[in-house]
């Protein structure tokens, strides 16, 4: 039975067509995967189904009734729920409070026969109902725990509970596995199959093709806002899907040459680096590693295990409580970002628009930021406009950055081109060492290829690189050695050439290899 059907669904943002006459059907009780590149229009489509966006033209039918949603509330009352990629939870509230948010139960008081409400929330009743729900689906979580104290996997379950409590029949998951360990992903699939067994329909938005193959019943491929393929999963393969998505054969793996670097001199050395957060917890705990000349060392781990803090430490934003960092034998511990760059450490920050670029400043200004005090540009405290613009022209050319208007702001650039601005800026400084964090987050496949090749190109000129990424495949494809972080510590190291996902997955979940335990 068709539970969702769209007819010529179109969404325009100004002149840009995000979704172009989408015709798609979802059958009741199936797991439907929707795949496509970043920016292909998957999220736009789902946001229309969930009432966050209004279609420009076209119709949506739920159980053969034409519907029109003004808000997610409308969608939920029609039985559609969504679990967003970035969870919409309130950290300071308990699990049960988050589940019941928006549908709180208030205490009833009685005087004689009349009942009235003082508008006070009935916590006991709320906890009871949520506990029953947890029991029904056998989720291993505690209704009274605060969100900020539970794991990412558990938070995802809270998001699912939120929808189940509202009796949804259709559950949309937006990139649900992005933040999970390989093992947590397995548990998640078990949950999905259980939900399917209970009669729910599931829509899975993802770009991870092997997951599509593993768990879905049917798959729809979207490219540049159009449906370009619709098939049963059993009739296709990851390779075929990838070809559809990108429109050509994709090298899912870059061409990387492995060498033995252990004999080369150590360029970058981190020694017992430790820092604490506001709650006195050691978020980075006794981290030590070395990077040799021309080597790429990757740091993998589930998000939130101290990688961000380690990056902040190494890029001079966060101070260490103890430990040392050396570059070519010279100590650079607790250097400010300015001194780090002066010491020839280039930085690709984790959060592109928070630390790497200023959206509301000109492209040329961003192109010199961090190096704006260099003698070639800045004399007597004055910045030469001409040299700034010359540099922009030069780097746009060299790094093939597509800029519609040179005098424009960063906000006019796509994610990939914005990231290339950072790459150009940092690589142009001729660094000895590069700290690169999430270099390809949220950019399209074309830009990913370019950025990966640039990083390998930098390596070929003998530079050392530290790569931190939450995309395990990126780490595995680019690194020579992989370190895995867990709860602020480096829990293990593997040789990238022979590493398996499974091996790294165990480390990411905090399980050490046997021979490490001695």
């Amino acid at each position: 039975m068709e539970i969702i059907k769209t007819a010529n669904l179109t969404k325009m943002f100004g002149d840009f067509t995000a979704n172009d006459k989408i015709n798609m059907t979802v059958n009741a009780g199936e797991i439907k995967a929707i795949v496509g590149e970043n920016g292909a229009g998957k999220t736009t489509l789902m946001n229309m189904l969930y009432g966050l966006l209004k279609p420009t033209t076209g119709e949506i039918y739920i159980k053969e009734n034409k519907i029109s949603f003004d808000s997610p509330t409308d969608a939920m009352s029609c039985g559609i729920g969504m679990v967003h990629q970035h969870f919409k939870l309130v950290p300071s509230l308990a699990v049960y409070e988050n589940v019941l948010l928006g549908t709180e139960i208030e205490k009833k008081h009685k005087i004689g026969k009349k009942s009235f409400s003082l508008k006070i929330i009935d916590e006991k009743q709320e906890i009871k109902e949520v506990e029953e729900l947890i029991e029904k689906y056998q989720f291993q979580i505690n209704a009274t725990d605060l969100i900020k104290n539970i794991s990412v996997g558990a938070r995802q379950k809270v998001e699912i509970l939120k929808m189940l409590y509202r009796n949804v029949e259709i559950l949309i998951f937006d990139e649900p596995t992005a933040v999970l360990t390989p093992q947590e992903i397995e548990t998640f699939f078990v949950t999905l199959r259980e939900l399917k067994k209970q009669g729910k329909t599931i829509i899975l938005i993802t770009h991870k093709l092997q997951e599509v193959m593993e768990v879905s019943d049917s798959v729809t491929v979207i490219k540049q806002g159009k449906v370009i393929g619709d098939m049963l999963t059993k009739n296709t393969s990851s390779k075929a899907l990838a070809r559809l998505m990108v429109g050509r054969d994709v090298l899912l793996k870059v061409d990387k040459k492995y060498r033995n670097y252990s004999k080369k001199p150590v360029v970058y050395k981190v020694e017992n680096l430790t820092t604490i957060n506001a709650d006195n917890i050691k978020v980075v705990n006794n981290v030590s590693f070395e990077i040799h000349e021309g080597e790429i060392v990757g740091i993998a781990g589930v998000e939130g295990n101290g990688q961000s803090e380690l990056l902040d430490l190494l890029t001079g934003i966060l101070k260490a409580t103890s430990g040392k960092v050396y570059l070519k034998g010279k100590e650079v511990s607790n250097f400010w970002p300015k001194k780090l760059r002066e010491s020839k450490i280039a930085i690709i920050p984790e959060d592109r628009y928070a630390q790497g670029l200023c959206l509301d400043m000109l492209i040329c200004e961003n192109m010199i930021a961090g190096y704006h005090g260099n003698k070639e540009i800045c004399k007597y405290g004055l910045i030469s406009q001409k040299k700034m613009l010359d540099k922009l022209d030069c780097l746009i050319e060299d790094y093939d950055i597509r800029v519609s208007e040179k005098g424009g702001k960063i906000s006019s650039l796509s994610g990939g081109n914005a990231q290339k601005i950072i790459i150009a800026r940092e690589f142009d400084s001729d660094p000895d060492m590069l700290v690169a964090a999430q270099p390809t987050r949220g950019v399209d496949i074309g830009a990913i290829e370019y950025i990966h090749n640039s990083i390998l190109g930098l390596q070929n000129t003998g530079k050392s690189i530290l790569l931190v990424s939450s995309e395990l495949s990126e780490i595995m494809n680019l690194s020579d050695r992989i370190l895995v972080m867990f709860k602020g510590e480096i829990i293990g190291e593997v040789d990238a050439k022979n590493a398996t996902r499974e091996e790294i997955g165990y480390l990411m979940a905090g399980i050490r290899k046997e021979n490490d335990d001695e």
Binding site: V152, I347, Q355, L359, D360, C378, S470
Partner: protein, 360 residues
């Protein structure tokens, strides 16, 4: 120069979003004028004509514009960096007070020495008053807005006390310090009100123009105001810069106070800075001028026109001079919307970026 290469439509939008709040304010102000049983149009005509339509009026307007330009720049330099230094008023009156005292005590010095000395002292006083909130903000992130605001009250009370006791001029009929010596008075040009201080202001304005648009500091001020994380991550050492910027702001305010004392007031009284005070006027001017020096120059002159005119309004009509306060508050109120529009572009994608990975 791409920076000024804005296309026509964005320029139009910019000026429209500046002029609209003024028009709305005048429209609402008209209601207040009707309440005072006067004709709004003729009242507004008086407001403008007396300060704009003759040479003497223009020179007078420029005279009043001088401290406003400085105070506007003082506000803009800190606001633009995202620092709400509301202490300009306190810095102006402190500087004015000290200059009044020293201008009296050191009157034996020749003007050629005394005037530059007092201007310098005014600047130093402004910096010193700004020092505490600057330090607290830079070192410990103590909310600079609340601190500077509350210190304004304290400073006013201290100066009131000093003026009415230790430094009171016994021969004066009201609470006032003694007049500064004639060698401390900045001379007027011809028989106009305009003094040399106006040209000093213009010189400072030119310097500040380069600071805003061409200098490394200006670049960093812009970056800090638009995205503090970005500024810190690209090595701008925002805590140190916070200190510099707050002190620069204090210096400009100090200069404004000194100039106002030596070119217009000559003695410190409780109404030295007027109502609501030069510092608050500066806020309107900085907002109206969009935190850019040229904009501030125009806004300061515009506001000086109103200020000069408001006295005439009180003389020629039943509308109290306080109409200017009303217009000022209303313009700021309606400017607060425009203030955002420029930022809007940045906020939305930034939010998304900020949530990236913040689920940890």
């Amino acid at each position: 120069m791409s920076k000024w290469n804005n296309n026509l439509s964005s320029n139009l939008r910019k000026s429209a979003s500046t002029i609209t709040p003024i028009l709305i304010a005048f429209l609402i102000g008209a209601i207040a004028i009707i309440l005072a049983k006067e004709n709004p149009l003729s009242t507004y005509f008086i407001l403008i004509s007396k300060s704009l339509f003759n040479i003497k009026g223009v020179l007078k307007t420029l005279h009043y514009a001088a401290p406003l330009i400085l105070s506007g720049l003082a506000i803009a330099v800190s606001f633009k960096a995202g620092l709400f230094n509301m202490g300009i008023e306190g810095q102006i009156i402190s500087s004015g007070f000290v200059v009044a005292i020293l201008g009296y005590e050191l009157a034996f010095l020749p003007a050629g020495v005394l005037i530059p000395l007092l201007l310098l002292i005014g600047i130093v006083v402004g910096v010193l008053v700004a020092l505490l909130p600057a330090f607290l903000k830079a070192k410990y992130n103590v909310n600079e807005m609340v601190v500077t605001l509350l210190l304004n009250y304290a400073i006013f009370a201290i100066l009131e006390f000093l003026t009415s006791t230790v430094f009171r001029d016994p021969s004066s009929g009201y609470v006032s310090t003694s007049m500064i010596g004639s060698s401390a008075i900045i001379s007027r040009i011809g028989d106009s009100k305009l003094t040399l201080f106006f040209f000093i202001t213009i010189a400072v304005f030119i310097v500040m123009y380069f600071v805003f648009h061409r200098s490394k500091l200006g670049f960093e001020i812009t970056a800090m105001g638009k995205n503090r994380s970005f500024a810190e991550a690209t090595g701008m050492e925002t805590q140190k810069k916070t200190m510099y910027i707050m002190l620069l702001s204090g210096a400009l305010a100090g200069l404004a106070g000194a100039g106002w004392m030596m070119g217009e007031k000559f003695a410190y009284t409780l109404s030295f800075s007027g109502t609501p005070g030069l510092g608050w006027d500066g806020m309107l001017i900085a907002l109206l001028g969009g935190h850019s020096p040229i904009g501030i120059l125009i806004a300061a002159i515009f506001y000086a026109v109103l200020k000069t005119g408001s006295a005439s309004v009180a003389i020629y009509t039943n509308v109290p001079a306080e109409i200017i306060l009303l217009l000022q508050a209303l313009i700021i109120l309606f400017l607060s919307i425009k203030f955002f529009n420029k930022k809007r572009v940045k906020k939305e994608p930034k939010k998304e970026a900020a949530t990236n990975g913040s689920d940890s």
